[in-house]
Symmetry: C2
């Protein structure tokens, strides 16, 4: 069921299927041309259920980050499992998912451009719930102005003040600035939702102890900001953050009320390289690039998937079920070395180094049931927000 996609993914909508072949529902995975991005539905559903159960057992809200999958079909599965909504990172991402039927959105990032804020004012009227992050007086002033200019009540939008809890990217770093900005939010008639407190740098620290130490600092900064708000007579309804590498630490902190994990649905190679504490929920690899050997040398095999098919910002992919070394072969190739290499025309399955930007390279996700080698195509999902960086 490819959903309508307004901003990209022409291959799924208005595309010429003679050019980028879309497999028929029920087709065997062997019939899928390469390189293609596949989702193992059994693994995906397991991952979605495991985190949903973990959060609900602890009374935590779960608002998964849709920047990972950019796909309304997967967002629907997360909402059906109890998510309160999904996070997005860009204005266009929010618009594309709303157009595809997802109407509980949190844009967990700053927007300064007045044209984008005007677009968001319209979007807010189409959503059941719309929230956004801010970290500057200018951002709050322009957001409120855009809503007024569009005749949209400012109370329609929930606003989280972002604080820097160790990532060193966006977010305020003083409690006084947090209090002043929260007051500006409230004075503008916007709904103050609380604090955005995501520590992205903690996610791939390799040991549980390293991640716990980083999140201890994040939780301390978040609670200090919350205490400053309360001391100033302001509310702090919610502290939201956490990612797939560290969420057990945010959950244990007693400070965070909501988890924003994204990658857990797919689990890429980089997350698999983390060490995990005993008893922590485990997630399965659910995202794979199907590739084919197109050239063989005496001691290497060349496949038809390079970094236009899988993102390498977090390193090269791993081959599923084999210990072949993967070398960078450029935009459209990767080179395999090792023992018992596959032959010309053989299929290999790659576990991408980083799932989020890998999904963003593809127009659709081919959802298979029954495993990769012998499964069948159960759905073809449009990557609704593919390329929606604006």
């Amino acid at each position: 069921m490819p959903s309508v996609t307004p901003c990209g993914s022409g291959g799924g909508v208005g595309g010429n299927t003679a050019v980028m072949p879309i497999p028929a529902l029920g087709a065997a995975t062997a019939a899928i041309e390469t390189p293609a991005l596949l989702v193992d539905l059994d693994a995906l559903e397991l991952n979605i259920a495991r985190l949903a159960d973990y959060a609900s057992a602890r009374g935590l809200r779960l608002r998964p980050h849709a920047k990972t999958h950019k796909c309304a079909a997967i967002a629907r599965l997360q909402l059906a499992a109890g998510a309160v909504g999904v996070c997005v990172q860009k204005t266009g991402e929010a618009e594309a998912l709303q157009a595809a039927g997802i109407d509980r959105l949190y844009l967990s990032n700053e927007v300064i451009d007045e044209r984008k804020l005007a677009r968001l004012a319209v979007l807010a009227t189409r959503c059941t719930a719309f929230a956004i992050a801010v970290d500057s007086p200018l951002g709050v002033q322009r957001l409120a102005q855009a809503l007024r200019d569009a005749g949209v009540g400012t109370s329609r939008v929930e606003v989280f003040v972002e604080i820097d809890v160790g990532q060193g990217r966006c977010g305020l770093d003083s409690a006084a600035a947090v209090v002043a900005l929260a007051r500006q939010v409230i004075d503008a008639g916007l709904r103050f939702g609380g604090l955005q407190a995501y520590q992205g740098k903690a996610q791939h620290l390799r040991t549980p102890a390293q991640r716990a130490a980083a999140i201890a600092v994040a939780a301390q900064r978040a609670s200090a900001a919350r205490d400053a708000l309360l001391a100033a007579g302001l509310p702090c309804p919610l502290i939201t953050g956490a990612g797939s590498g560290s969420f057990v630490d945010e959950a244990a902190s007693g400070v965070y009320g909501e988890l924003q994990c994204g990658s857990y649905v797919f689990m890429d190679r980089d997350y698999a390289d983390n060490e995990w504490a005993a008893g922590a929920p485990r997630f399965e690899h659910a995202l794979f690039v199907k590739a084919q050997v197109i050239s063989r040398g005496p001691a290497h095999a060349v496949i038809d998937a390079g970094h236009k098919s899988h993102a390498i910002d977090s390193g090269l992919p791993r081959v599923r079920g084999a210990d072949w070394r993967v070398d960078n072969g450029g935009d459209e190739h990767a080179i395999l070395r090792g023992d018992a290499l596959p032959g010309l025309g053989d299929t290999v399955w790659l576990i991408p180094g980083h799932c989020d930007p890998t999904v963003n390279l593809h127009d659709r996700l081919i959802a298979v049931r029954g495993g990769l080698e012998h499964g069948v195509v159960e759905a073809v999902w449009t990557v609704d927000a593919r390329g929606c960086v604006q």
Copy 2:
């Protein structure tokens, strides 16, 4: 003039412009929302003319690689400047460009999948000239079979035998194997075009001397393969290869008859980091990502363009006209550090680290005339083959 795009780029075709805003022709560059991929037309035209003049002055054929731009509008400019056709790297890339009106195509890569070969048999009937590379007996056998199965004369397709001239990726590495494969090509009734001899690893060796040494080896291997063909009584009509980093060396070798440069049209940061010999043609930066500061810290500025907007496989982008350090901020952010940092809402122009995969992240190229700061939008070009990895 966005051209029709069959396999991707829904933003340009059937897209909802309210979601990914497409600037009006004649609009000022200030009106373009960020992040956006811009082409400086004055620089692009200069680059296209400089390489065309260089090749024609030396009696060399020029067949630019369209994997760089994936854009029929730019291919048309290259053909109008004297290119004999364009190279592509994937079956879908060939189909997308042909559907957009480019009908002289060379797929300079191996295709083994019988379904793709069946697609290419159809494509060959739609092209004025269609060529492909091979490096295995299975590839030749399947190609000829696909043409016969489609009722397409095998003589319709020109075939280049790829040899490994030092890259260690695809291509044959023995003269005897080259002779045997060329004979199989001819016996199958395919048109034997000669040798594909591209040395990708030479392109970013930093000094002219390093590149000259690598291409000396490549030319020696290519001429040895050619001599073996002639000694066996077979022709060797053409040796084709060369890239934007090394083409002066292939041109000087006397062995190569055709240049396949791609990146010269845009010149990314990685190519700019090469040292260039005095007297070698110089190319200008023509591809830029327009970005906006969305968050400011005391000693850093955060922009709204991360590696979902510019590829970082060859390193981070450089900021045009400034020496700020660019740090990786993840999928949707980059972090600038240095003196006199830009303020909240300010525009910065990024020179991408690697142009080919950066273009592949975007649905369209916004072609501006008169410079970035004060120019106007002259055309909006669809990236016709965006995402066409199959």
